[in-house]
Symmetry: C2
Subunit: 298 residues, 2 copies
Amino acid sequence: MQPAIEPVRDYFLSLQDDICSSLEAVDAEVGFLRESLRTPGGGFAHPRVLENGSHLEKAAVQFSHSIGTSLPPAATERNPHLAGLGFQATSISLIVHPRNPYAPTTHMNLRFFLIEADDPVWYFGGGFDLTPYYGFVEDARHWHEQARLASGDFHQRMKTDCDKYFYLSHREECRGVGGIFFDDWTENGFEASFDLTRSVGDHFLPAYQPILERRIGMPYGDRERNWQRLRRGRYVEFNLAIDRGTRYGIQSGRRIESVLASMPPTASWRYDCQPEEGSEEARLLAEFLPPRDWLAEP
Amino acid sequence: MQPAIEPVRDYFLSLQDDICSSLEAVDAEVGFLRESLRTPGGGFAHPRVLENGSHLEKAAVQFSHSIGTSLPPAATERNPHLAGLGFQATSISLIVHPRNPYAPTTHMNLRFFLIEADDPVWYFGGGFDLTPYYGFVEDARHWHEQARLASGDFHQRMKTDCDKYFYLSHREECRGVGGIFFDDWTENGFEASFDLTRSVGDHFLPAYQPILERRIGMPYGDRERNWQRLRRGRYVEFNLAIDRGTRYGIQSGRRIESVLASMPPTASWRYDCQPEEGSEEARLLAEFLPPRDWLAEP
């Protein structure tokens, strides 16, 4: 099978539909705003954003197919010889910020780059990761079990790469409990790499939905919301100061509302704020954020 | 007069005291948290942060004197030949986030770098800028009048540089109404450059205080607070994704709570949110953010 954009694009489009429908079932009274945009050079984008649901404070599930004449530096950091070439790229990128602080934020991204040439250059990338505000062992285990099912033999490597990528070095802190991450991926050729990408996509809902469902009904108050806002501040720090995807989006002049649809609805910063010793908030930092083998026998 | 760190450091320390006292007079019931920290290599820092005042939602006025063995890349972008040398640096950096959305946020920074060598390398930098959430012509004029007094013959150049620096290219939007900005400054030698730096520092309170005082009593409601939070989101975008000072702080491994003390207490993001046509919010974007000569005759 020759590397081609169409089958990947069609899979991403159908995955976007499935995920939006499932999320809409969680928040029956609000729906995704569905847009369809043409982008320069013949590409198109389907941003879908849901805001202010009773359970989903914000969710963005975005599809794009870009056709470009020159790869920007942020997209080719690891492949500098590709800089300046024309390309096609298709991606699905999602983020869910539930309102309930006991329900974790999640992020998934799948992407495919292709330079059609005599000797085509292509790679897949993506993964999914989970960012809880309060830690639940049961949730972290379920998440990583699904991540292992999604990634098979590559699980250990993709988990380690996820822990490495979603790391705020200035805080010496991981963004969440991780998941799986892959980039510049061509392992075993196009067909196998596409299979892996599909497997990651297909495991997202089974990984996230049960966690979301068991947490969104839990009672919470100001204390939990305040903590959630502070932790969302860390999310903002990661996205704006570190994340390669966001930097690529800003550098390449992509539609900024799409690039920043991942931002949390609210965030806050307090000076030198440390959770009380022994609290559930302190437990998140001490027991859940440091990288850990969640699938080891207890 | 030979370039020396001590007189600059002492001026910054005394300016920090003056500004903190003036701000504390605005919010009598809360005070600055005053800390004194030793930093590696014999430097020290005096972070001062005030939070949750009735008028000042957050204010940070920070002094630091750093002694380093190797200048990090972000500090030497314009002087790459300096990378890797040992240095001393002293700075005062402040930000004020008033609670009332009619009162503007302000930022001031003054800094001095010195490489003591046979032929010492040194430069000053800094400036002050104003970020209103609602526009008032009277405030913008007063601010720029003081900026002109502070910078004298250099005003036009320093104003233009300010408009250029505090620009969110991904939004095609200035951060606020500007002010003055200077960097890598050695104009007319050490003594003249130090005089200019002092003049900028001494004009900060006369520039900001009258504006703060006439706005903090204005009535406001949820609409204004929501708009303020959205605009503070832009502030966060600038600081984390663009600002050289913050990038330097993150890269150099400086104490992160000091680096990020500039972050607003709260911020929010909404997808593709545009103010209503003809509203005061739309007027800010149309009439106040585009660079303008505020001192031209009306």
